[in-house]
Each structure stands twice: as C-alpha cells, then as structure tokens.
C-alpha cells in the first residue's frame, strides 16, 4: 500500500474518530444532568429569584433554551438528534451565559490563547532542545546530572504555583522594593493582557500600535515564562535521550573517525537525526495550542480559551464547551495525522502501509 492508500485510510479513520468525539461530547458535558438532574438554567437563575417566578414562566424558559427540567429518554433522544444536526451543520448556537454566538466568544479569545501558547511552546521547545543537546554531549557529567535534575524539578512543579511565585516577585515585591527609587516602582503587570492607561494614550497615535503591542508583550512575559519553564523539561528529556541513543550509532563513529570536530558530530550528524522523533512531539504540541492553559490563564487573568473552558464547564454552558472540545479534538486529530505524514517525508526509510 502506497502513500495515497494510506492517506485515504487515515482520512476515513479521522472522520470516524471525529464523529465519535462529537457523540462523546454530548454525553460527557451532560454528566451533571444525568447524575444529579441539574441543568444550566438552575445555575443562571438564583433560587431566591426563582421563588418569585411563576412555574409556567420557568418551564417556558427551559423550553426556549432547548432544555427540559426533568428529561425522560425521549427528551434525551430529541436533544441528542438536535445536537448532532447542529454540530454537522456548524451551528454552535448561543452561549447560555452571555447569549452571544459561541463562535464569536471563541474567536474573541483565540488570538490571546494562540499568542500565549505559541510563544510559551516555542520557549519550551527551544530551551528543551538546547539544554538537551548540551546535556547529551557529555552524558553522566555533572552538567548532565544537574540539567536532568533541574528539568525534572521544573517539569514536576505545578505551573500555577510557579506563576504565583513569579507574580509575587516581579509584580508585587519588585515594585514595592523599587518604589523608593522610582515613583511607582519597577515591576511587571500583575495580570491581564493590556493596560487601560496604555490603550487610552496610544490607540489614536500614529505608531500607537507598537506601544500597545509592547504592552501586550509585557503582560505576556510572566505567563510565557511560567509555561515555558514548566514545559521545557519534557522536551529536554526527549531530546537528551534521543541524542544519547543516536550518538552510539555507527555513523557517528564514522564521523568521528573522519576527524570531524566534536561540535560538528554533535550538531550536524547527531542532532539532525535525533530531531526526527521530536517532530512528532512538536506537531502534537501545536495541535493542542488552542486548548489554552486553564490554570495559568486563571492565575494571570489572561483572556484565553483555557479559562473560558473552565468557567463554561462550571456553569454547564453546553454550547460553549461542546464547540471548543469539538474544535480541539479535530485540531488534535489532524495534528497527529500531519505529524505521521511529516515523519515519512523527513525520514525516507519510513514506508507507509
């Protein structure tokens, strides 16, 4: 079987997988309703408000949200059918909470999430590969052991805690310590994506976009560092172990026998081959970029999809979580598919079948 057959077969698998994910999505987010009978409207209308509302009005409200207060099996079948039709027709509906189109809510947050996750992933990947190569160049040395220990330590740190510590030092302590030197002190923002003051001062200026971009980058710095440091350990270990394996291959011995410089052996021959498995890992990482980072976004008040997923889950905002999870699932499945294909292109020894 050639590449074409492989692509066709995988495409069918991908399609079936997406259908399965869509079906699964319906049930998993309705678990609180299945188990406890609670529905989103229960959370939207406080009991003290509901106590003053006629029962008929309450029932009418449920109906108009596409909900049933105490659904039976036929209600569930109807709701499931309507959900499937909406999903396949790309109609994600309106958020229960804001009553705004779900797709608008997602698109409002997507750029921020891509910015945070993209930059922090790049930081983590570059840091992981660089330190991984350095450590693998001299396995067993103090440098290697130290790097492995540090990577394991940072990898096992809770990112939200790391974020809080960074905030504590750079957003709270630093301004307090430097406030005696400079009015207001020097420090990094304690959260958010942009400052009101910068926005108002520069939004109408000819080159104001640069200042605003700078302000966004300033706000990005701490969450990016937290996620970058928290995530580099995985890439480091992967890279180091791959490279150590590769450095035992015969062609490395041949390169050394040719009298090549050790740096050339490491970077030109070793690293190039050790990078192949990293491609899959990186491709999958980018497939999950739109997930966002729930805890980091919460700690830094970053307006992204991760926090939105969390908030929507708590409020049983089905239309939102269904749509986001479907998009995430499709992106992840496609990223895996692309990674598989890419691997074959990069390594001619791999045959599809």
């Amino acid at each position: 079987m050639g590449l074409r057959e492989y692509v066709i077969r995988r495409t069918i698998y991908v399609f079936l997988l997406i259908v399965a994910v869509i079906c699964f999505n319906f049930f998993i987010f309705r678990l609180p309703t299945f188990l406890f009978g609670v529905s989103p409207l229960d959370l939207m209308i406080a009991p003290e408000q509901r106590a003053t509302m006629p029962y008929e009005s309450l029932q009418l409200l449920y109906q108009n949200y596409g909900l049933v207060p105490d659904p039976d099996i036929f209600d569930w079948i109807y709701m499931f059918w309507r959900y499937i039709v909406n999903m396949f027709s790309g109609d994600f509906g309106f958020s229960f909470q804001s009553q705004r189109p779900v797709i608008d809510e997602i698109m409002a947050r997507l750029p921020n999430t891509l910015l945070l996750m993209g930059t922090s992933s790049i930081v983590a990947i570059i840091l992981g590969i660089w330190t991984g190569v350095k450590a693998a160049g001299d396995p067993g040395s103090r440098k290697d052991v130290g790097a492995v220990t540090m990577a394991l330590f940072t990898f096992s740190l809770p990112v939200f805690w790391l974020g809080m510590i960074l905030l504590f030092f750079f957003a709270y302590m630093l301004p307090a310590l430097t406030s005696t030197l400079i009015d207001g002190g020097i420090g990094l923002p304690s959260g958010g994506t942009i400052s009101y003051e910068v926005w108002i001062a520069f939004k109408d200026q000819p080159f104001g976009a640069l200042a605003i971009a700078g302000d966004i980058l300033l706000h990005l710095l701490l969450p990016m560092i937290a996620l970058g440091i928290g995530g580099y350990g995985g890439y480091f270990l992967y890279m180091r172990n791959n490279l150590i394996d590769v450095m035992t291959e015969d062609y490395i011995l041949t390169a050394r026998a040719k009298g090549l410089d050790e740096n050339q052996v490491l970077y030109k021959h070793g690293m190039k081959n050790a990078m192949l498995p990293m491609v899959t890992a990186i491709a999958i990482t980018f497939g999950f970029l739109i997930n966002g980072a729930t805890l980091t976004e919460t700690v830094f008040n970053w307006f992204g999809l991760g926090r939105y997923i969390f908030d929507s889950l708590l409020l049983l905002d089905y239309p939102v979580v269904q749509a986001i999870f479907m998009i995430v699932a499709i992106t992840a499945v496609l990223a895996n598919f692309i990674a598989d294909l890419l691997y074959g292109f990069l390594d001619p020894r791999i045959k599809y079948g």
Partner: protein, 632 residues
C-alpha cells in the same frame, strides 16, 4: 559524579524550594471592620467625567490596586472579612460595611421522619449556637438571625418574643423527650418511640466553600449535642443544587444562603416560592416540602393585599409561623464590605442593602477640592468579573448589572434609605376600581406614569411613553421566544401597556396587589424602540452592542466609550436628563476650527524601557555569542 558540596547545595536548594512552596500561603493576609454611610438627597449628577471598571479577578490583586492607588474603589459589596485589617491599616483607604440583604440557613426535608416533627426541628434550632456560627464563618462580622426575611422593611426579627440565638440544650432535650425520642438503650443516641434507630442525620454543605462546609460541621454537631447521631456531608455543588430543586427524598438537612442585593421585594416575596403549600412537590419550588394551612391562607392574603399595612402584618405573621415551625432554621446575617480611597474622592453613598457600590455612588462621588474637584476626573473601580453582555436582556450576572445599572436606571429607583425616587417618572398615579371605577375593573390595577419631558437616549432620540410601552410589550411577548425579562408574574399579568400621551405611560394589570407598583416601576428602563424593533421578538438576544459591534443607545447618565474583553470598560458621562453643569473642558481655538486638547502623555513608566532594554541586550548577547562561536 557530583561532589559532596554540590550535593549539599542541591539538597539545600530543593529543601528550600519545597519549604518556600509549603509556607507560601502565609503571604496571604488576614481580618475587622469600621463602616459608615454618607447621606445623599438630590438626584443630579454625575460629577465625574469617566468611570473605568477594571477587571481584577483576584482579591489580593484588588486590594493591592486599591492600596497602591491604581483603583479608587473596589466595586463589590462582599470583600472577604479576612482582608479588613489590611484595609483598615492602609493609608487613605476606608472600608464600608453594612448588614447584608441576605442570610445563611439550614433547610430541613420536612417529609422525612423525624424531621417532619416540629419539635425535632425546634430542638435543633435551640441546639444550634448561632454566635459560634457567626464567629467561625465570618470572623465575628456577623450576627445571629432567626427571621426568614433579612434586615429591611419587611423583617419580623425585632417582633419575635423569643429567639434561638444561644445554644439551649435543656429546652432542646425537653422538646425531644416530649416527642417520644428517648435514649432507650442508653447508648448515647436517641431512638424512635418504637425503639428503632433514627439513623444518621446528614447535614450537607458545599464542600468547596469554607462557610458552607464549616456550617455543615457545626450543624451536625448541634444534632449530636442533643443525642441525634449526625454527620456533616460535603457535597458537590451540582448535587447540592439538585437535592433542593428536585425534592430528593434521601436528604435530611442542607445549608444554603440567599443574597437579595438591594431588592427588598424578593427578600420577602421569596416566602411564596419557598414555603407555599400549593408548591408542595413541584420541582424548583418549596424545597423544604413545607405545608401549613394557616401559612397558606396568610400567603393568599399577602399576595393580594392592597396596602402596606396588610402586607406588613401578614408578612410578620407568616414569619412568626416559620419561626415556630422551623422548616428552615436561619442562622446568621453577616456584614458586606466594600472599600474606597479617601485621599481623592468624597461624596459616595452607602445605600441600604447595596452598600457603597451603587448607582448613587457613581452619581455623587466627586473629586475633593484639594484634587481640583468637585467636577471631572476619572473614577477607577475594580471589579472581579467582566460584563458578560451589554444587552440588558441577556446580561444576567451581578457584575454585569453593576455596570449596566450606570446606563439603564429605571422609572423609579430607590435612594440610600430604600425610598422610591422617580427617575424617568416625574409623578405617578396608582388606580384601582375603588378610585377609578370607570376605567379599572374589579381586582385590577392601573398605573399612570407622567414622564419627564427632556430626556433623550444617547443618540439624541427623545425618550417617550412609546419607548416604555414598547419595552413592556416586548418583554411580555418575548417570553415565548425565551426572553427571561417576560418571566415575572407581574409582566405576565399585564393586560395592556400603552402611551396615553407622548409623555404619559399606562400599564394595566389583571391583578390588584401591593407589589404591583414595585414590579412595574422599580428598575424598569426604556429600551430604545428605534434600535430594538428591527430585531423582532425572536431576536432579543441578537442585539449585541459593543462586543458584537451593534450600536449602543442608552438612556442613563453614562455611555460606553472603550471596552476591551476581560480588561476594562470605560464609561463616559453624557448630558442626560439630570446632568449638572460642568465647567467647559480646556480647548484650543484655531482661526476656523475648535479642537479638543490631545490626551496628556502617559506618566513615564520605566518598566517598558527596562524590559525592552533587557530583551535587546539578551538578543545582542545571544547573536553576538553565536557569531563569535561560529568564528571560533
């Protein structure tokens, strides 16, 4: 391998890191009070030019922003009491507190034996130490409370002849003995009159909430103290909600809390949905499964009462029944706090039940003379949650309405003493069959509002009676399309809403009740007919101003001029009906045109320069180093 010195260094580093990790919560701070209110009379304002709501979700962040002067007020009425010492100690910051328009309570399943026995429920009420609850849950910023209506015009708390405030085990045990629940086998726990075990009573609390979980523990302790075996049950929030909504037969007692904000109508009217026998067994209503014929008869009178005296009298009698029957044991009424900077601002208003963040504060707050006041300035407030929608029909959250109220005042509002103040309504007449037999049928109500005639929406359209008539009909007819504004009983009992004259608005209801005026007039604002009508009834949630880019036309004193998702909302003063003359802003006059002075440059912030410099230096070092290495 590693030398001993490096091993020790590593060990110290890791131990230090983990120690720091474990003690880091001590950097969080802890609690006491002071509060006061400032009176306000006239309804003219606002004095400020702008009001900026900054979204700061963490309380620590809000506190630091207030103390550092980054914001002027925390726009919440429920700052955690643990932060009060920090606020009190801060320079130029004042914390304001008032009794919350709400309470915490234990709800019984009155269908479950032995909780269906009044004596058992009363014994529990006597066994509970409400002072302890106030101390543990709210660090003393709370008081014992018995009534099922919070402080305000309708509560009967002061009328009760006896109270369940203090733990009184003697009375509690006597009540249980009289009910026949005795410890027959002397095992320390009471048995049923037939000798069988009562079972372990579970007092449920929301496990993730400090107050709720502590209340469950104290509640279970009270049962144990009177010889009824009990345990606290920490539940998931959904489970918690559904057990109350769906009359789960397996539950015993649940701890819960109500907050009515500045709304005193719901604070008493909730007795209908919560205890009325007609709602027995109906999902979402009467969660304690309470039935009492006298109470129901009083409730019928209460719902149809035409005068305040009858309402007050029946409300008090119903509370007295609940006080005796105890289907719900109210435990406490705590204080709600907010805080403001006093070095720049004065004139803020503490409104009964709403505390300092309210419509009147934004109308009255002004710069001190020492700051160049009283006119102008930007008032920065911190809000923990962003507005979810600028569409008044979609916005549901408290934080959303904290902003929307600034732009959408009602026909009448309530002042700091909870007295009606006409805003769009200059005067009004309440007509009944007795007063106007020719136009009002028996048992009906008619309200005639004479509107002010100089009010405009922010796009210049005159606000007329047609806008009010459109709004009321749009809400009522919109319920069929899911518009929640049409769900109230009053709107559903409306038979007509129309403009009798350009500035005379009439509402007719097929019921006659004291409550009708409140429901018709308070907080009911005019939707701009010329903006909303094109969306149709079914498009009530498609109007998406600001966030969706649709035009935002508002009637109130402020309008939205800047908004960034989850960051800030900037409101700017507009020339509205009750606006006051502000001095002209500084302008530069050119020979032919007049231009507004450009905004002043922002204060020098060295952070951007330092970080920029550091990033630049890092790039130079890395690139330079790489080039040098390549050369080598």
């Amino acid at each position: 391998m590693l030398s001993n010195r490096i091993r020790v260094a590593f060990a110290i580093f890791f131990v230090g890191s983990f120690l720091f990790m474990s003690i880091s919560p001590i950097f969080a701070t802890a609690q006491t009070l002071p509060y006061s209110g400032l009176p306000s009379e006239a309804k003219n304002g606002p004095y400020i030019d702008k009001m900026v709501f900054k979204v700061q979700p963490n309380t620590e962040q809000q506190m630091l922003a207030l103390i550092n002067g980054e914001v002027d007020m925390i726009w919440e009425s429920s700052i955690d009491t643990t932060y009060l010492p920090q606020l009190t100690a801060a320079e130029d910051v004042e914390a304001f507190g008032d009794w919350r328009n709400g309470f915490g309570f234990y709800e019984f399943n009155c269908d479950r034996y032995p909780l269906n026995i009044t004596s058992v429920r009363r014994a529990y009420a006597y066994a509970l130490d409400k002072y302890e609850i106030s101390e543990v849950l709210w660090a003393g910023e709370s008081r014992p409370w018995d009534a099922n209506v919070p402080p305000g015009p309708w509560t009967a708390e002061e009328e009760f002849t006896y109270y369940y405030y203090e733990e009184n085990l003697d009375i509690a045990n006597d009540l249980l003995d009289a009910a026949g629940l005795l410890d027959v086998d002397a095992d320390g726990w009471r048995e049923n009159p037939d000798g069988s075990e009562i079972g372990i009573v579970q007092v449920a609390g929301h496990g993730a909430d400090f107050q709720s979980s502590q209340a469950a523990i104290i509640g279970a302790g009270a049962f144990s103290a009177i010889g009824i075996e009990a345990e606290p049950l920490m539940t998931d929030f959904y489970q918690y909600v559904s057990r109350l909504n769906f009359h789960d037969p397996d539950w015993w007692v649940t701890f819960y809390g109500y907050s009515f904000r500045e709304d005193f109508f719901n604070a008493v009217y909730h007795l209908y949905g919560d205890f009325y026998g007609g709602y027995y067994g109906v999902d979402y209503y009467n969660s304690p499964n309470f039935r009492n014929a006298t109470f129901d008869a009083l409730m019928d009178t209460f719902l149809t009462a035409k005068d305040e005296a009858t309402v007050l009298s029946t409300a008090h009698q119903m509370q007295e029944i609940l006080h005796y029957e105890c289907p719900r044991v109210t435990a406490y009424n705590n204080k709600a706090f907010s805080a403001i900077r006093t070095d720049k601002w004065e004139g803020h208003v503490a409104q009964l039940g709403a505390n300092v963040p309210n419509f009147w504060t934004s109308m009255k707050v002004h710069l001190k003379e020492s700051q160049g006041g009283p006119y102008g300035g930007t008032f920065y407030v911190s809000s923990s949650i962003d507005i979810d929608s600028f569409n008044t029909m979609s916005g549901v959250g408290y934080y959303t309405w904290a902003i929307l109220f600034e732009m959408w005042p009602g026909l009448v509002e309530k002042d700091e003493n909870a007295e009606y103040v006409g805003v769009w309504a200059e005067s009004w007449e309440i007509q009944t069959h007795d007063t106007h037999p020719d136009v009002v049928p028996v048992g009906n109500h008619r309200f005639v509002f004479n509107l002010i005639q100089n009010a405009t929406f922010s796009d210049g359209h005159l606000i007329t009676a047609e806008d009010f008539a459109f709004t009321f009909n749009y809400f009522k007819d919109g319920l069929a399309y899911g518009n929640p504004n049409g769900a109230s009983a009053t709107i559903q009992s409306m038979t007509a809403a129309y403009a009798a004259a350009p500035f005379q608005f009439v509402v007719e209801l097929d019921t006659e009740s004291f409550w009708n005026f409140e429901n018709v007039a308070f907080r009911t604002f005019p939707l701009p007919q010329h903006v909303i009508e094109p969306y149709g009834l079914e498009g009530w949630n498609e109007w998406d101003p600001i966030k969706g880019g649709d035009p935002y036309v508002v009637p109130g004193p402020f309008t939205v001029t800047e908004y960034i998702d989850a960051e800030f909302t900037e409101l700017t003063r507009r020339d509205w009906a009750y606006g006051i003359d502000h001095p002209e802003p500084t302008t530069t006059t050119e020979p032919t045109t007049t231009t507004t002075a450009p905004p002043p440059p922002p204060p020098f912030d060295p952070t951007l320069a330092i970080v920029g410099g550091a990033v630049g230096a890092a790039v130079v070092i890395l690139v330079g180093g790489f080039v040098l290495l390549r050369q080598k």
